[in-house]
Amino acid sequence: AQSVAQPEDQVNVAEGNPLTVKCTYSVSGNPYLFWYVQYPNRGLQFLLKYITGDNLVKGSYGFEAEFNKSQTSFHLKKPSALVSDSALYFCAVRERYSGAGSYQLTFGKGTKLSVIP
């Protein structure tokens, strides 16, 4: 079974400061890892993913995430937070394709990011 943990329900950061949203995962094989963002009254927007290759992946809106296999983590980061980054962030995992049913994404509970002006 696969699972995702986002240990912080809420993260507060001052505008202009770096931000980190934490995510750890568990899968039986090699993972595909994703970050999505949900703005109020909106659907989920894809931010970035790790499939293979370079452990540091860059995505939309200046966000990046680092895949750390030994720590089974995939923390989301941004060097300088904007007020407009305030939203709900979801980490998701699925096992690298190995047959029927393996397209299922498992989501974390979400972390609410508040960027304070």
Binding site: Y32, F34, Y36, N41, R42, G43, L44, Q45, F46, K49, I51, F90, Y97, G101, Y103, Q104, L105, F107, G108, K109, G110
Partner: protein, 113 residues
């Protein structure tokens, strides 16, 4: 990435009634998914809908309660049947948009009174 629309965007329904949610994609896709997001909660997969075959339901979800249609490669519907207040949620469809990535629609916000 795929562009996905859902109808209705929101609805308020009476208990015991049914609501059908539509999901339209701007390109042909093999796999479509339906998720539920209960208030303050994460997303839970309801079922996977492939064109030309029966939907595959996850544990805790049954076809009688959540019948799904997938008549072609760009469209799917999810019906929430015999609704109760516990069905109040956001329902989202998603598609496997290539490069191992799922893209999501804007969601349907359902309130059952």
């Amino acid at each position: 990435s795929a562009v996905i629309s859902q109808k209705p965007s929101r609805d308020i329904c009476q208990r015991g009634t049914s609501l059908t949610i539509q999901c339209q994609v701007d390109s042909q896709v093999t796999m479509m998914f339906w998720y539920r997001q209960q208030p303050g909660q994460s997303l839970t997969l309801i079922a996977t809908a492939n064109q030309g075959s029966e939907a595959t339901y996850e544990s805790g979800f049954v076809i009688d309660k959540f019948p799904i249609s997938r008549p072609n490669l760009t469209f799917s519907t999810l019906t929430v049947s015999n609704m109760s207040p516990e069905d109040s949620s956001i329902y989202l469809c998603s598609v496997e948009g290539g490069a191992e990535t799922q893209y999501f629609g804007p969601g349907t916000r359902l309130l059952v009174l």
